[in-house]
């Protein structure tokens, strides 16, 4: 428990964090202490933490699940060459997913805010209706955006459907926009000036020291340079590969086991989704085509969800013998 924030025994107050990474570390410790498996980011380009198979696929089936992780996320259209104080094409989300959603999930969540220095006794925390929907994942849920003093600091969602499958039991999903949350906690006005490590460290680094240059490079790449011809081709390739992998006979000749390649196929779905986002940023997808592309990615997500439901991890537990 040594990495948990030290609480002043008398007041219950938590020492305020001093850097971006300290906020991440405190969230990691907090959710680890609450019993979540602390996973590492998924090693692919995704638009949001929800895309991590630990959320999309693991929210299906009846097996209990509890995971927390940081997920680097990319939204090519949000690039602003590192100049906008709040917008980035590459940013971090903190994601918590628990199945079945525990009855005290709201309290657990509020505890995590206390851990990073947002004390509800001093701030105005509000749960404001916000229903979540991901057309590309064929997923939706009901919940709130959580406001702290009028600022949206998290999304709180009870998943109802993923990949076209009803979620039974229901997973509770928490998503923290880390940069925005940290800027608020640390009192920073421009993301690039935010201390990434301890500002008193011998080599103190700001967010800008690490990411200003990459934001410039990727903004140029996303808006002007990425080869659209190649991206279109890769989209088609990913789509075809996803279908191909799922068409294999589940019986594996080498091992003699039943192996449905749900995760490798889902990787292709993730790829297709990111390629679509890049094409969108390049401005080569018209309004009407847009819906069609989203529909194609959703079709892949649905197939992968179907396949995952055929696997051990995604199956429904057999009825307990009476």
């Amino acid at each position: 428990m040594s990495d948990l924030p030290r609480a002043d025994a008398a007041s219950g107050a938590v020492t305020p964090p001093r850097s971006f990474q300290q906020i991440i570390l405190r969230l990691q410790s907090y959710w680890a202490a609450k019993g979540c498996a602390v996973l590492q980011p998924y090693d692919m380009e995704v638009g949001a933490g929800t895309f991590h198979p630990a959320t999309t696929l693991r929210s299906l089936g009846t097996k209990p699940w509890a995971a927390a992780y940081v997920q680097p996320s990319r939204r090519p259209t949000d690039g602003r060459y590192g100049e906008n104080p709040n917008r980035l094409q590459h940013y971090y989300q903190y994601q918590v997913i628990i199945k079945p959603s525990p009855p005290d999930l709201q309290d657990l969540y509020l505890g995590s805010l206390r851990a990073i220095g947002l004390d509800p006794a001093l701030h105005d925390i509000r749960f404001v209706e916000d229903d979540w929907e991901s057309p590309t994942l064929g997923a939706w849920g009901l919940g709130w955006e959580v406001w702290c003093d009028g600022m949206e600091v998290s999304q709180f969602t009870y998943f109802q459907q993923v990949g076209g499958h009803d979620c039974r039991p229901v997973s509770g999903e928490l998503t923290y926009g880390l940069e925005r949350l940290a800027m608020y906690v640390l009192g920073i006005d421009h993301v690039m000036t935010m201390p990434f490590n301890d500002p008193a460290a011998p080599i103190a680094l700001t967010y800008g020291d690490i990411f200003r240059q990459t934001e410039e490079e990727y903004s140029r790449h996303n808006f002007d340079a990425a080869s659209t011809e190649m991206l279109f081709q890769h989209f088609k390739d990913a789509e075809a590969e996803c279908d191909r992998l799922l068409a294999f006979d589940p019986e594996d000749a080498n091992s003699g086991k039943r192996i449905v390649m749900a995760h490798p196929a889902y990787d292709q779905c993730i790829k297709a989704s990111h390629l679509f986002n890049l094409l969108d940023a390049r401005g080569v997808i018209s309004v009407t085509e847009r819906q069609a592309y989203i529909g194609r990615v959703r079709a892949l997500a649905k197939k992968c969800a179907d396949a995952f439901r055929q696997t051990e991890a995604g199956a429904d537990a057999a009825e307990a013998p009476v």
């Binding site: 009855p103 009870y158 039974r168 229901v170 608020y184």
Partner: protein
Amino acid sequence: MPDLLIELFSEEIPARMQARAREDLRKLMTDGLVEAGLTYAHAAGFSTPRRLTLAVEGLTAESRPVREERKGPATTAPAAAIEGFLRSTGLTLDQLERRADKKGEVWFAVIERPGRAAPAIIAEVLEGVIRTFPWPKSMRWGSGSLRWVRPLHSILCILSDEAGTEVVPLTVDGIVSGNTTRGHRFLSPGAFSVANFEDYAAKLKRAHVILDSAEREDAILAEAQTLAFAAGLELVEDRALLTEVAGLVEWPVPLMGRIGADFLGLPAEVLQTSMREHQKFFSVKNPKTGRIEGFVTVANTVTADHGATILKGNQKVLAARLSDAKFFWENDLRVAKSGMADWAEGLKAVTFHNKLGSQSDRIARIAALARDIAPMVGADPDLAERAAQLAKLDLRSAMVGEFPELQGLMGMYYAKAAGEPEAVANAARDHYSPLGPSDAVPTEPVSVAVALADKIDTLTGFWAIDEKPTGSKDPFALRRAALGVIRLLLSNDVRLSIDRLVDVQILRHQSGPTPAAPDLLSQILSTATEHGMFGDLTRHLIASAEKLVPDWLVPVRDHNPDLSDSLRDFLHERLKVYLKDQGIRHDVIDACLAMPGNCDLTLLVKRATALQATLQTEDGANLVAGFKRANNILTQAEAKDGVEYSFGADPKFAETEEERALFTALDAAEAAIAPAMAREDFAAAMQAMATLRAPIDAFFTATQINTDNQIVRRNRLNLLHRIRAICLSVADLSKLDG
């Protein structure tokens, strides 16, 4: 008589659903209780973000026993019939009674249901209500299967009277009812038990929860006004926002802040919209400058620093939002001042509907039609066309991208910035109006022209691609567009033939944005606007295009008015609905619709209004009876004799005083009606018509139409024909009820 208290305690209920939900809870519960045989004195529903509450006063302690007698089949009926009766009553044969009936002996069932205690009934009804509650959207959570708007945590359900309080036992999906609840999430999170409604409301207040949303609204409004007043400012009232905010807090604490000086140059509507939509802030105005200079946010908690941290945070979020708005505004102004060409270009790539082309194509059509309409509404054609070309360009502006509800309004600001005339800028703002049935209708001529053109283009477009509204489905809001056309015409007293405009705009749709033979098209369009698509001049013009017949000309050449007829019928249908709301009878409208000139809706309504007024007079109402009598006799005689009695009533064959008087009266009425109709003075025409009532009544009383003398009979039938002709020249009275 006990009182019932129910509280359904859950995670945060969306603000917009609360009012409906507390009313649904009240109605469904009380309906269910009454259905089950209980009565009550009074019931009230309450809601906060975390609870739905129902308080029922004076509930009966048990339901009345019910004795029901049901008559069954004859004792001689087939066995199957008797078995069916037993099944439906749940009795056995030996429990039935034989009774004598008119037709013989029949079986009678006497069913007695004893009274039931209130708790059993309440538990049953409440469980049913919870399981089938009509939330607009509901969800499951955890491993359960119950659906509620958000996870349901506890059910408080108690009956109380002088003797004490008892919990009504029930269990819904593992949630066991009790007599406890909780206070404010942060200020008083502990659980406590309650004895009755007064105790409940009082303890909640001590636990930082104001139960009644009206009380929360009042508290917010009063405190917000006080804060503004103390700073020499005034609150901009916003009822809808007040209701929403009251649904977001259990313990409202208004806090006032100032808007940074950097942002005070933004249009007031931008400030208000941004603050309301994103932050749920009330706007605070400086009464001296009229500018929006401050805001009130409503926190849900009290803090040791009296909200200082909360206010600072909110101010920071607002600054970030308004920086965006300012960035949009400044960029947009740059585009506007350079003539908005970028936006016009951008709209070429935006599809309006895949069968109706781009927004840019649509704007070109609307501009052409606005030009056609301009002279009919007293607008300058150049200005109307220009206004239509600019009115929708703000759809490409960054500000409207962020706040779609500011469309039109931003168009006005940007048109002004571009140096356009006031009338053009105002048309950008007003051309979407009227949207709702009680929306203000534009009155400036240029705005009226563009607003009409916009709506007629939408209607004709969707008519041309056969996307008409059906039943409850109206995805393109065409009923609203039709009502918009009607209100624009009527309230501005616009006189025009809607058919002609519909015809020319359908042709513009059919010919597409880059038509073959554009010169011929523009000739036809301008001739048709003036003389009608099926007028002689237009037909000559079409006939002259012997060799060159582009596709778009084919339906026009082949004379197919079905499309525009069907749209005109739709407009007439909407007009009927509209006039019905104004208190004009549907048969009165039918009587006027049957008259020529029904493409001129303003004229149509004038006629209908006059007719309705006439029918409300005694003479008018009786005249209709006289007309109908004359019409019936005449129609029957004409059918029997196989001739039309339409000529030659001659006073010299008149035999009675009353008959002669009718001749005189008809002459006088005719002399008055014709000129009145010519100047469209329907009131005068109908007044003249109504004077016929007395002579017609007298004539029928004194005179037998079907006499043996054929000359006299024919003369009288011809006289009836004059009555019919004169009346029908005013309105088709045969369409009237009664």
